[in-house]
Amino acid sequence: MAKAVGIDLGTTNSVVAVMEGGKPTVIPNAEGSRLTPSVVGFTRTGERLVGQLAKRQAVLNPENTIYSAKRFIGRRYSEVQEEIKNVPFKVVAGPNDAVRFDIMGKLYAPEEISALVLRKLADDATKYLGEKVNDAVITVPAYFNDAQRQATKDAGKIAGLNVLRIINEPTAASLAYGLDKKKNETILVFDLGGGTFDVSILDVGDGVFEVKSTAGDTHLGGDDFDKRIVDWVASEFQRENGIDLRKDRQALQRLIEAAEKAKIELSGTMETTISLPFVTADATGPKHLEMRLTRAKFDHLTAELVDRCVGPFKQALGDAKLTERDIDEVILVGGATRMPSVQTLVRRLTGGKEPNQSVNPDEVVAVGAAIQAGVLAGEVKDVVLLDVTPLSMGLETLGGVMTKLIERNTTIPVRRGEVFSTADDNQTAVDVHVLQGERPLARDNRTLGHFRLEGIRMAPRGVPQIEVTFDIDANGILTATARDKDTGREQKITITGSTQLAKEEIDRMVRDADSHADEDRRRKEEVEARNNADAMAHQVEKQLGELGDRAPVNERARAEQMISRVRELVRTQSTDVNQLRQLTNDLQQILYGLAAAASQAQQPETRTETQKTGTGGPDDVIDADFRKAG
């Protein structure tokens, strides 16, 4: 059976994606890249090159290398006079004022150029999938008129594709986020690509999208940001060295590349270094370029570009007769929306709304088109949608720590279990505190329920084995079970609705975990330090008890003093990690000493198990905060 693909036919780059096993997958091209330049080159030998290869020979052959065909498709020759000024290839008027590219005397329509790009994408997809690709959904900007849409559809036909549908780019982006399931919502799509900027406002209801308004700037994009860096670096360099790197082609090329790299790095770090050793030379010797660029400086250099997004944004809202408060969802599209300054602007303009950006912004349009293609080809209809748990689930263990049994985003149904033990000697019951959330400490998470397992046989701490199992069925119902392996006694609790939290609630809990990460780590360290000290004190105490008066008197006195100090620190919930660790180490040393004393004093037949520690033993038993009964 033939597969249907989704194609984002872009001004600068194009992307193709397909539904595979019910999930959208972006298909890499024959050169191994997920983005294919929308460029076609005609060589003198009559060869036609498409994509990266066409781009590489553009300098040799500028008049026969066509790019940005999307700016011309479906338009009248008289409408594109401004665009013509920006391109090195020959654009002429065809019949009925149509646009034609003159390539070595032969005339090509823009749809023929786009067809070559589409053909390459479909061929590469066929190779990747191992099956013929015939059907496609192709995206166009929301502002495209009927002629432009028809011409895009014709490009598909020329490429030999069966165009299932032409859909709007912002609609595709919304589909990628599953927003077609929403009832009566307003979606704002903010699309800042390599060279174009579009804002669209859509209404969705009952799976139907309606474009309320669009606005944009056809010549604003990520490349402009690179250029600002290049200009700044070049003028600084010129000021210091008196050499203009922009006049040296080789140096300029290195600089342009380094500028783009710096821009990308500054999305993740606050500062980067642009380093171009031996960038040029003069009579005095080689010159090196080494320049620090902070994010603040970069934001300053590009503030004017970011500001240029505000006008179209406000215009789109105004045209739709809406205010920022009416927007329910925001979607970021285009690689340039990865820049923190752009994201800050979007948040500010939408009244602090958190934008959707989990799908790669370079690929989100193609992904949405692939989903639409899957639906139209009937592949997606009967897919069983498996849910995931939105938050982690676990139980409270020693010292108030949350031990996770099921991590967030685990596909359900799922069943996970672990063996725990008692925290005290002769403990006959355990309390199971079932929790949901991402914070390391139990008290910061949400309580789902409590239950108690009783009738555990008296034994030293760490000996009983209690198996705790969490089972979430396909409906999201959690059953937590605790079973004493010794007696077979079992107790359980069933919690419904654990997966049905409101999205805002889930987001808040995940955000909290992120924002408290440092503090939580510290608090968890404190708990661990207390637990370790307490466990060590317990072992030393046990050893002292077993040795009786064979223990050296001074050692015993020292040990007892330290044990009572540990008990005091644990009781008062001390946060003095250093002191707790020091005490744990000292007690460990004493324990070694006592063990040595014991083996000297004792006959081999009564060897003690001094090294059996409570935590992380070979049988994977974890001390749990199962409090003492009664």
Partner: protein, 149 residues
């Protein structure tokens, strides 16, 4: 009535078992693809790293070009570092390829400029602005070249 129920249940069981087998098969396929992708990712990550490293190799070459045939214990030291780096790259399958004098080929070359042919074959590479490298049989990065015209 009871027979009817048994029949329906058997039918249901068959359907469910089919779905179960399908899920198992899906998972198996998924695992296989992930395995395949993981090995690809490994190579991809290595390729990314190699091409970043080549930037540093370029810098070293710029230095060596600059000093030309000059020798001093200091410069010779840097030459040894460079050779060490080259042999390390070669051992991992990264090799540079010759471009000058060859006809321009967009699968290997990226044109950055043209110069008048002046006796050279038109369309041939006359100068390398950046060396091209292959990783095993694939082009790791194309050579940046100046072409006669």
């Amino acid at each position: 009535m009871a027979e009817k129920t048994i029949e329906t249940l058997e039918q249901d069981l068959k359907t469910e078992h089919g779905l179960y087998l399908r899920a198992l098969a899906d998972f198996d396929n998924y695992r296989r693809r992930i395995d395949r992708e993981r090995s690809q990712f490994g190579t991809e990550a290595l390729r990314d790293f190699m091409s970043e490293l080549l930037d540093v190799v370029d810098d070293l070459e710029r230095f060596l070009d600059f000093v030309g045939k000059e020798t001093s214990p200091f410069i010779d030291g840097i030459r040894f570092v460079y050779q060490k780096l080259q042999s390390l790259l070669e051992r991992e399958g990264v090799r540079s390829f010759e471009s000058v004098g060859k006809p321009f080929d967009p699968s290997l070359h990226e044109a950055v400029a043209t110069v008048p042919a002046e006796g050279k074959t038109e369309g041939s590479v006359v100068q390398e602005a950046r060396r091209g490298y292959k990783f095993k049989d694939d082009v790791l990065r194309p050579a940046r070249v100046v072409v006669a015209r």
